[in-house]
């Protein structure tokens, strides 16, 4: 049992790395998607709505498979880590689009009207009045998305990325101890989620005071 620990720690680091990259890509897609969904230009709204509907309407696993296994057919050759990160990031971005949009829409309409009456431009109103308030409200729901994406990195096990779940699977072959291996991976996942959850709570509390 002892000799497996270093491999699990390495896998946990890879899971963290995947989570961070997926999160950054997801937030970027989410911010872009939300601003398009709230745009005045109808075609932009349609594109973003289609993006959200398609990526939330099909399994993330299939999206990973399309990019990784199907990509080479249309000239996109990516290694498993890159393909997986992109697929998961774009997938969680669709959920984050709705989260961010929801938070922006939840800011009282009177705020926008007042700012516009005071002579601020649409962009100024968004940046100086609406977004600072919306940002506070989106911390907790984005935390839910982040929690889901950390667990979602396990979806890269089927394409052989050596993250926690794949590592557990590999050691079952050599140790014949499935219970212990999966439990060990489970404990590491929970530790990551525990720490991230506390970080989000801390952010949320701070954002509320000010």
């Amino acid at each position: 049992m002892l000799r497996v620990y270093p491999f699990f720690l390495e896998a946990a680091l890879l899971t963290i790395q995947l989570s961070v990259l997926t999160c950054i890509l997801g937030l970027a897609c989410g911010a872009l998607g939300a601003s398009m969904r709230l745009s005045r230009l109808a075609p932009l709204r349609w594109i973003a709505a289609t993006y959200v509907s398609l990526f939330r309407g099909t399994p993330a696993l299939i999206q990973v498979f399309i990019l990784y296994f199907g990509g080479p057919q249309i000239g996109i050759n990516l290694d498993a880590f890159t393909a997986g990160t992109i697929a998961l990031g774009v997938n969680i971005g669709a959920y984050m689009t709705e989260t961010i949009r929801g938070a922006i829409l939840s800011v009282d309409k009177g705020q926008t009207e007042a700012a516009r009456t005071l002579g601020m431009s649409r962009w100024e109103t968004m940046r100086k009045v609406v977004l600072p308030q919306a940002a506070r409200m989106m911390i907790r729901p984005l935390g839910v998305n982040i929690n889901a994406l950390i667990k979602g990195t396990a979806l890269l096990a089927p394409i052989s990325v050596l993250e926690l779940t794949q590592t557990a699977q590999r050691f079952i072959g050599s140790t014949y101890k499935p219970f212990e291996m999966f439990l060990l991976a489970g404990i590491l996942y929970m530790s990551i989620i525990y720490v991230v959850g506390h970080g989000i709570n801390w952010l949320d509390r701070r954002a509320r005071i000010t």
Partner: protein
């Protein structure tokens, strides 16, 4: 190698059969997650601490780890202790319990939100504690969380793709089978995605109707 979708129709029956299994898994696991959610919620709130504690621990474990890991644990891990479940059963139990935990969180919050007067009124009318919960509190609490539980059902449908990894012949694995014969992953995974999307739209429409009926019955 370009794209050639003309191979897809000849595997239509394979995909359709897989789609049937995906629907069967979603419905079975959905039913398990609904009733499991109610049982977990009630035991977590009102059970003896000897039951309450393991239920809470179980919920905590299931919410903190990936579904894929849980499926592996149920399918491969239980063999180690002598329980050899068929893949379909393991898949339904894994998906069902996973979403039961999420449903339970919703129902717990909803039970606590039911007006205290309802409970007191029922007790005053002579109903026992169990009767009050069963006939008065739980029906109201469950009724109130049908819409968010519907969202969990949609998530369950999409996560049912994960049981392909433990060898259940549903839509994802059926498309993989077609791919292994034709070497056309892009076409078949896209076809599978399309079929998932169709089931998803049908499920969403059904849930919207259900919500409207509930809203009307109030």
């Amino acid at each position: 190698m370009g794209l050639d979708f003309s191979v897809v129709p000849s595997y239509f029956d394979t995909l359709l059969l897989g789609m049937g299994w995906t629907i069967a898994i979603t419905i079975s696991a959905g039913i398990l997650s609904f009733f499991g959610g109610i049982v977990f919620a009630v035991t977590a709130l009102y059970g003896h601490w000897l039951i309450r504690l393991p239920v809470r621990l179980f919920a905590w474990l299931f919410m903190g780890t990936p579904l894929l890991l849980q499926l592996f644990l149920i399918y491969f891990g239980l063999i180690q202790v002598g329980i050899d479940l068929p893949a379909f059963v393991a898949g339904v139990i894994g998906l069902g319990l996973h979403f039961a935990v999420y449903n339970s969180e919703l129902i717990q919050a909803s039970i606590l939100a039911v007006d205290k007067g309802q409970y007191e009124g029922a007790r005053t009318l002579g109903l026992s504690r169990g009767q009050t919960l069963r006939r008065i509190v739980i029906p109201q609490a469950v009724h109130a969380v049908i819409p968010p539980m519907g969202n969990n059902m949609i998530a369950l449908l999409k996560d049912s793709a994960l049981v392909s990894v433990i060898g259940v012949m549903e839509l994802t694995l059926a498309s993989q089978q077609a791919i292994s014969r034709t070497y056309r992953p892009f076409e078949f995974y896209l076809a599978a995605a399309f079929l998932y999307y169709v089931i998803n739209l049908a499920l969403e429409a059904g849930l919207r109707r259900l919500e409207r009926r509930i809203a009307a019955s109030r």
